[in-house]
């Protein structure tokens, strides 16, 4: 019997499970995917915003306040990537001027300091490649850049280090409230019993709500398209630059935590299903067109990959504010139904959920042995030459580069597998092997071999992102995995 089970290991669930391990509780996290952050989280942006993105007096404005500082501290504790950057909300057209002023007003009401409206000359100084049409911009510093799947993985790893259990590839089929007020969660892997449930299932939160008896939860999905550029053109854009930002579309280009550029999101469309992360040619052309409006000489030939992500909003509260409430059926179930900017708000969502659990009668006794620091995970590419020299001295396999584009060594890939990354995407998310300009062309045969060896599986057991996503079908000849099978 668990005290609390968190359903969903996206950024929200991952934050919550780690926060829960600060108390003497028996806790677990469940996710249908193979690894933390494999759902909506991995298809999102990686910006930690200041609170001027949220209308004043909303729950999300409150939860987003001081988010970059929170992420910075977490990144230190978890030894994951965090970078600080500035942001420009630019006006290319007259009608954006009032928008800029409004956002400044929002920010100030929400308690954000240092927001400044700058003229076109100053914008040009900050972004030399920007369109000559730029009229003014709202400038702010102190935004964060993270890589959300890496963050999720580290949060869950740290939670496990502090005693949490995790169940991946585990899909919730039904939830039954028992006579004693506890719950039985039926999954494809068996039944899990718990006293409290946190529903952080993201775009599937309506289905989980339905299972506990909260009918009619409505989540509205939209789809957005993004493109990633080769690192060699990273200096083309210095800040996160937004030229349009509404419930209908986002026109943005900015740096990623790992030093690429990311561009998107275009005009939102309704996905065909919760699984629809298809990129279409029209949407791709659209984001390129929007990008060129902001930066006319944008090096579109240096796009290395494109993808689409799902955004969600709910219809339970007006204006797409967050819905973080107890179930109508039981105070022992908390729904965290969020939307954009969900990553930014996630540390505060976790704190809020802890308070709500306490109010609902869960006894929170401090875990004095809580270890806030994850075991360090040195990244070869982040180190100076001197540091690289020293680390190879300690572990020779840091001297063997496997992913040439992102400079990832054999030592890091083995370490990732040892920490629980058991898919090609999982390894990619936490080491960056295969994320560069050749997109795994050279390194993935090595990664396949290492995965097969370390996990002791046949080639067919190597998957991109979990069950069904096998990379190869076996050996061409001999052995037991003949292709005829």
């Amino acid at each position: 019997m668990y005290d609390v089970v968190v359903i969903g290991a996206g950024i929200t669930g991952s934050m919550i499970i780690r926060e829960l391990t600060k108390y003497l509780l028996n806790v677990a996290i469940i996710d249908r995917e193979a690894s933390p952050g494999f759902g909506v989280t991995k298809g999102g942006l990686s910006f930690i915003h200041l609170a001027h993105f949220c209308p004043p007096n909303t729950l999300k404005a409150r939860l987003c306040l001081n988010a970059p500082q929170k992420f910075k501290r977490l990144a230190e504790e978890l030894d994951v990537t965090f970078k600080e950057t500035g942001e420009l909300l630019i006006a290319l057209k007259d009608e954006m001027i009032p928008e800029i002023r409004m956002r400044k007003g929002w920010g100030e009401k929400n308690g954000v300091k240092g927001l400044e409206i700058i003229d076109s000359k100053k914008v040009k100084e900050l972004e030399p490649n920007i369109s000559d049409k730029v009229m003014a911009a709202l400038y702010s510093w102190g935004h964060g850049l993270i890589y959300p799947p890496e963050f999720c993985f580290a949060l869950v790893e740290n939670a496990k280090q502090n005693g949490a259990d995790s169940f991946f590839n585990t899909e919730v089929i039904n939830i039954k409230k028992e006579d004693d007020g506890n719950f039985a969660i039926f999954t494809n892997k068996g039944v899990i019993k718990t006293r409290y449930i946190i529903n952080s299932a993201g775009i599937f939160a309506d289905e989980i709500a339905d299972m506990v008896g909260d009918k009619g939860f409505k989540i509205v999905l939209t789809k957005a398209t993004m493109a990633i550029f080769d690192k060699r053109v990273s200096s083309f854009v210095n800040h996160i630059v937004y030229a349009g930002l509404s419930s209908k579309h986002t026109q943005m280009i900015g740096p990623t935590a790992h030093g690429n550029l990311i561009m998107g999101l275009g005009y939102f469309v309704t996905p065909e299903s919760k699984w629809d992360t298809k990129v279409t040619k029209d949407k791709l052309n659209e984001i390129i067109k929007l990008g060129l409006e902001m930066f006319p000489s944008l090096p579109v030939g240096d796009i290395i990959t494109t993808f689409a992500g799902i955004r969600s909003e709910n219809l339970m509260v007006p204006d797409g504010d967050f819905y973080i409430e107890y179930s109508n059926e039981s105070k022992r179930v908390i729904h965290t139904i969020i939307g954009s900017p969900g990553v930014t708000a996630s540390p505060s969502v976790a704190s809020m959920v802890i308070d709500m659990l306490s109010d609902a009668g869960l006894n929170l006794e401090e875990n004095k042995r809580f270890e806030r620091y994850r075991k360090p995970f040195p990244k070869f590419s982040h180190l100076s030459l001197e540091e690289r020299n020293n680390i190879i001295n300690e572990n020779r396999k840091y001297g063997h580069v496997i992913c040439r584009c992102e400079l990832v060594t054999e030592a890091e890939i083995k370490e990732a597998i040892a920490r629980g990354a058991d898919t090609i995407d999982g390894i990619k998310h936490i080491t960056r092997a295969g994320m560069g300009r050749c997109q795994g062309g050279f390194c993935s045969p090595w990664v396949y071999k290492m995965l097969a060896e370390e996990l002791k599986v046949s080639p067919k057991g190597i998957t991109k992102k979990g069950k069904g996503s096998f990379e190869v079908i076996g050996y061409t000849k001999g052995e037991d995995e003949n292709i005829e099978n």
């Binding site: 396999k397 063997h400 400079l407 090609i424 396949y448 991109k464 996503s469 079908i473 050996y475 061409t476």
Partner: protein
Amino acid sequence: MKTSKIDLAIIGAGPAGLAAAVRAKELGIKDLVIFERDERPGGILNQCIHNGFGLVRFKEDLTGPEYAHRFIKEAKSLNVDIELNTMVLEMTKDKEITLVNEKDRIKKYKCKSIILSMGCRERTRGAIAIPGTRPAGIFTAGKAQRLINIEGYAPGKKVVILGSGDIGMIMARRLTLEGIEVKAVVEILPYTSGLLRNEIQCLRDFNIPLLLGHTVSEIHGDKRVEGVTVVKVDDNGNYLLDTKQYFECDTLLLSVGLIPENELSMMANIPIDSYTRGPYVNDYLETDVEGIFACGNVLHVNDLVDTVSKEGEIAAEGAANRIKGKFPRVDKTILLKKGENIAQFVPQKLTMKKSTTLLIRVKTPTGEMKLSIDGIYKKRFPYARPSEIIELKIPEKEFQNKNILSSELKIDCQESKNGDSMHSLS
């Protein structure tokens, strides 16, 4: 960290680097090392187990590993030092390189000369932005070749190949021989982008359908590829949606172009030609940085390994002369410019101190045509295809005897009209 001095560093032990090393040794350069990322020398030839290599150079029909072996054997007999599992991390204009391996950890070399022979990489799905989902089962053709020929893995059961580059066509045959069904090779252009001999020997001889003027408009499947939609395209590359065909398959192979791997060159601020995507070089294959030479697929994507080896040797001769202080004094360099129907060429600059062979690619196919260097030098060819490099030999004396005042000359490919006759036929 150690810093050592060395006469010649060769980056990459593929066919270009091996040929360069052998030639440099023959020319008396003793202090040289090849640095190779992989665990064995030979580069991409190791996975090219098909035949067709060495027809020009050895007048023999060899496989890739056999061709590589000839050079590896020779390199060994000349005691060429090859550092394997070694990656060059940095290179500067001052010819200092920083490398990493397990044995030396981080090590720096100050070099008198450097030969770049890093080869190329494959263009990916992301780079050409194929719409659709992002499942497992999408491979570049070269990666699939490595999986089958080196690792012994079968990538899938039913395959569609997008792009008719040489590796794509060779893989169509290779997959068929492994009992894997190749449903179609789909090419967006109205002609194949590889060699004619591969179109015949790899596709036609195996009855593999070739869809010219078509492309993949959508990839289907959530976990693993389940199929692809193929459409015809118009002259502007727009999809003609009423021509949609669905191919059920579990694998999509991409053979959509190769990109020279010039990250190190760019680090050293070596100017790069945006058409070849390799460094600008003169007829000694010297880049704009004195003492740094480039050869093979890092310079431009070659059709045949025979020319790659040749380039390695030319680069080695230049580097050896630099090291010995015997490089000829160059008073004037002529810059060659792209003219009519020319896609790219190397070298881009002529010192006119030696005879040279220009390797030229045209933009669109033509029948009988002549290549002309600003009218000064002309040669007629029976045809030209973008997928086949044309070799235009320019004898040493050709330009020296003519008093060329211009510092720029234009190369044109002019399709012959009926009745047009030329005197300088050779």
